[in-house]
């Protein structure tokens, strides 16, 4: 896709919407088909909790009794705060790290939703990420401007290339003695990460000004050169070499994932238009990613469509969940049995110094999390209900639903899919409760260029730095009810939905501009519609 297309296609976009770009609230007839929909997750929708902060945390109501039992077992697993090995009293919960980003699932997915964004006093210095922060940095090495388009075994199917001696994620926390210098740096991981914000203003055509902020990261104290910082001259740390790319990632909601997994690949691919052949300024392409389950089954081409993660870089809930268990928390498991930092000097030195008591092998000789734990926590994430909508009869909400289509948010935030009637996911039959459901995730599941403002400059399989997966919008109106400190977008930079909209660039710039041209009351109505989701 080309940015040049955006400007020339503006008229086409508007024409295609069938709407006008004036700023009055005229409700076309008929209203979009999603306008009055309440049960966004079909029969999996939660209705009794959908007004409150419990809205993301309810099991799908159509599970069988046996399935509910497994869900609840997974729920308990999701809350487990892992501890340093060895823990003689609780060997089943030990094995944290030795370097990690957080100690339990819930800390990055608070109440199954978004985590709090880091508050940084702009008059003070950067803030060091600590136990209450969910954001972390992905890292990889990459030659500038070099794309990976042909996925082969030789290039790991375009997987990000791990930073030697660090791997592909920066673990900024550690167990007490993860570092050799632990008495000065207790509980520090591979390096410290500091966050601050850059501020800018967005000015609406009507003159209203909104301040936006963008996080800036400073990495200090890497284990291989503790005195250096990202800004050091002639650094020696591998982390600070020019070819290392950093990409921030925040936790995201974990409900409804099983439904997204049950959308047919054909339905997603049918929405893709990588060459923008319809000249609407929106291309959209599927990510194709390494599939660990296929690889374990000796599939000759272990690649599947990507569905989960900010760049759709994992294919299944199982891989997403267990990759996070091993990566974010350092808990090895049957799908990822080796520690992320295995064979790095930090790990080798840690094991030698601590007497090889925290090797990533659990009490029974297997990985730290066993099969049942892994199955249950995966099942949990697959079967959390989608909250029902609120205030669907509110006239402002209805007006906003119309505007949502009119400014072409729906160009990427595809309202609805029907899940498959039966399918095989990761070698297992799909959960019946999730099949044949008409769902309203408001996402096309595709990657889109979102512009330089949001870019992390880091490739992830077929996703470029600018490209991000369209976020599902179901439940988004409950975000702050679930966690008042939650932020939006991949690095939590947007404190409000309005700020998140204004960050849309690239393929979404037309829609963003059309939103900006609306009157204040129409903008409020569109946001009221989002609030009702």
């Amino acid at each position: 896709m080309s940015k040049k297309l955006f400007l020339t296609s503006l008229a086409l976009t508007l024409a295609a919407c069938g709407g006008s770009n004036n700023s009055t609230t005229q409700t076309p007839n008929p209203v979009p088909s999603y306008t009055n929909v309440v049960n966004l997750g079909g029969d999996t929708t939660a209705t009794d909790t959908s007004n409150s902060g419990h809205g993301f945390s309810t099991p799908a109501p159509n599970l069988t009794a046996t399935e509910l039992e497994q869900h609840l077992a997974g729920d308990a697993n999701f809350e487990v705060a892992f501890t340093t090995a060895p823990n003689e009293q609780h060997p089943e919960f030990d094995g944290l790290g030795p370097v990690f980003n957080n100690a339990d699932c819930n800390s990055c997915h608070q109440r199954d939703g978004r985590p709090s964004s880091v508050v940084v006093n702009r008059h003070g210095g950067p803030v060091k990420l600590s136990s209450e922060d969910a954001i972390f940095l992905r890292i990889s090495i990459e030659e500038e401007g070099l794309n990976c388009t042909e996925q082969t075994p030789d290039n790991n199917y375009c997987a990000p290339i791990a930073v030697p001696t660090f791997n592909d994620q920066l673990f900024h926390r550690g167990v007490l003695t993860a570092r050799h210098d632990w008495t000065e740096n207790p509980s520090v991981g591979q390096a410290d990460v500091y966050i601050s914000y850059e501020y800018s203003n967005f000015t609406y055509p009507d003159g209203a000004v909104i301040e936006l902020k963008k996080p800036v990261f400073d990495v200090r104290n890497p284990y291989d050169a503790p005195s250096e910082t990202l800004a050091s001259g002639a650094p020696t740390s591998r982390l600070f070499q020019d070819d290392v790319k950093f990409g921030a990632r925040n936790g995201m909601p974990v409900f409804g994932l099983g439904l997204l997994e049950a959308i047919s690949e054909a339905d997603i691919v049918a929405l893709a238009d990588p060459q923008d052949t319809n000249n609407d300024g929106i291309s959209g392409k599927a990510n194709y990613v390494f599939d660990k389950i296929k690889a374990n089954a000796n599939d000759p081409y272990p690649v599947s469509i990507g569905r989960f993660g900010w760049k759709a870089n994992t294919p299944t809930v199982r891989q997403q969940s267990l990759c996070a268990l091993r990566g974010d928390m350092g808990i090895t498991n049957p799908l990822f049995p080796n520690e992320s930092i295995e064979n790095t000097p930090l790990h080798d030195e840690y094991l030698a110094r601590t007497g090889y008591v925290d090797t990533g092998i659990g009490p029974d000789g297997g990985p730290e999390a066993n099969q049942a734990f892994s199955d249950d926590v995966t099942f949990y994430a697959e079967t959390l209900a989608v909250p029902a909508r609120r205030n669907v009869d509110d006239e402002n909400v209805i007006a906003g639903a119309v505007l949502f289509e009119q400014v072409n948010c729906t160009g990427c935030h595809t309202p609805s899919f029907k899940t498959q009637t039966a399918m095989d996911i990761g070698g297992k039959p799909a959960i019946a409760a999730l099949t044949a459901q008409t769902i309203y995730p408001f996402s096309d599941m595709l990657l889109h260029d979102m512009g330089e403002g949001l870019s992390d400059g880091r490739r992830d399989f077929l996703a470029s730095g600018n490209e991000w997966k369209t976020r599902p919008l179901w439940g988004i109106g409950l975000t702050k009810t679930v966690n008042p400190g939650a932020g939006f977008l991949h690095d939590g930079r947007a404190d409000t939905l309005e700020e998140a909209i204004l960050w849309h660039g690239g393929e979404a710039v037309n829609a963003r501009d059309e939103f900006a041209k609306l009157s204040k009351s129409d903008r409020d109505n569109l946001i009221a519609f989002l609030g009702s989701l």
């Binding site: 419990h54 109501p61 800390s107 209450e132």
Partner: protein
């Protein structure tokens, strides 16, 4: 415990309800059918009272008790005597009560500020704790604040104050090392900071990037129709589900997990507050927290509006039945100790006490079912929703 156990039986009840109706929400556009009978209730005064008289009052109490705990640890460092240890132990017990009672309303700033893991992480990383005590010479708040939550908070202080709890909960002053005293004081100092932050978030707001305080959460809570609570229904749903959540956690987690399916499966390692032997007080306080929200008042205070009044407006008999069920659950939990004041960690392995534990579990299950099936259904009939 850092375990926000979700609404297990709510889901079970919902599943059963759907099965019983023989139907499902087959239409995507039609809300669930609503019973024709509705009831009126002006919830404004109730919400204001629950905010002022229960939630904020509880968090202020927690903050004050945390300050007293910190001061007791300072005294213990300055003058390590048998009496100052007993005083610090009691200060821990006193500070525990408002937190446990407050677990009936775990939402808002407590999540936003990661207060639960900061204060109540479990299990402890005992190997890390031991290592610091043996290898670090200058233990202070600056050092402890860099460490993970699993070597801070209530249970770390409990372990240091009471010992391992295996044979008794009577740690002697000569068993408390200087390192442990320093660790206690440092942890208590950080702890009081978190509890102060929590109370302030409700009454003063959380600081933004400019250092300005945002909207106090109590303002958001009391004036629904805002970005967080779309209506008073949302607030009531928050409160009712908060009650359900802790009843579920106590019955199906805190008690049931260590209790096990049989005496052979009893597991002491899973007992909450096992070092201080405060477990049964914890559990009873959890349900007293439910009572506080239900009645809108703390024990012995003047009558004020709570969820009871809301339920009574729709179904007086149900309101009274739930009140009795809450009180019965508390009584049954307290009765587990028996005539010889047996701590919970021993009770799970005692044949007779297990009968009493089962009675408490059963009472909690009855209460949970009433809340999930009947009170939740009643919320759906409120004309103000």
């Amino acid at each position: 415990m850092n375990k926000n156990v979700k609404l297990s039986a709510l889901a079970a009840a919902t599943t059963l309800a759907l099965a019983a109706c023989g139907g499902s929400s087959s239409s995507d556009t039609t809300p669930a059918p609503v019973e024709p009978t509705t009831f009126d209730f002006d919830a404004t005064a109730m919400i204001e009272n629950l905010n002022d008289g229960v939630i904020v009052a509880g968090y202020n109490d927690l903050s004050n008790k945390s300050l007293a705990l910190y001061e007791a640890t300072v005294a213990l460092v300055n003058e390590p005597t048998a009496q100052s240890l007993v005083t610090a132990q009691q200060a821990w017990v006193d500070a525990r009560k408002p937190w446990e009672q407050g677990e009936s309303h775990i939402f808002g700033p407590v999540d936003q500020l990661s207060i639960d893991p900061h204060l109540d992480s479990w299990p402890l990383a005992t190997s890390d704790l031991t290592r610091v005590l043996s290898d670090v010479s200058n233990i202070d708040a600056a050092f402890i604040s860099q460490m993970n939550d699993n070597v801070q908070g209530y249970h770390t202080m409990e372990y240091l104050l009471f010992g391992d709890g295996v044979a008794d909960n009577q740690k002697a002053i000569d068993e408390l090392t200087a390192q442990e005293r320093d660790y206690l004081m440092a942890t208590a100092e950080i702890f009081k900071g978190y509890t102060g932050e929590l109370a302030s978030a409700w009454t003063q707001g959380v600081a933004d990037d400019d250092g300005n305080l945002g909207t106090p959460y109590e303002t958001t809570f009391k004036s629904a129709n805002n970005d967080i609570y779309s209506s008073q229904l949302a607030v009531i749903e928050e409160l009712v589900n908060g009650m359900i959540g802790i009843v579920d956690e106590v019955g199906n987690g805190k008690i049931a997990d260590p209790f096990g399916g049989s005496l052979a499966q009893a597991d002491t390692s899973l007992v909450e507050s096992q070092y201080s032997w405060n477990s049964l007080t914890d559990f009873a306080d959890n349900i007293k927290g439910v009572l506080n929200v239900y009645q809108g008042e703390f024990e012995g205070n003047a009558d004020a509006q709570g969820i009871y009044d809301f339920v009574a407006a729709g179904d007086q008999a149900l309101a009274d039945r739930v009140l009795t069920e809450i009180e019965t659950a508390i009584t049954d939990i307290e009765a587990i100790a028996g005539d010889n004041n047996m701590p919970f960690r021993m009770a799970i392995s005692d044949e007779n006490a297990r009968v009493r534990i089962q009675a408490a579990v059963d009472s909690l299950a009855v209460l949970q079912t009433s809340l999930e099936a009947d009170v939740v259904a009643l919320v759906g009939k409120w004309s103000g929703k």
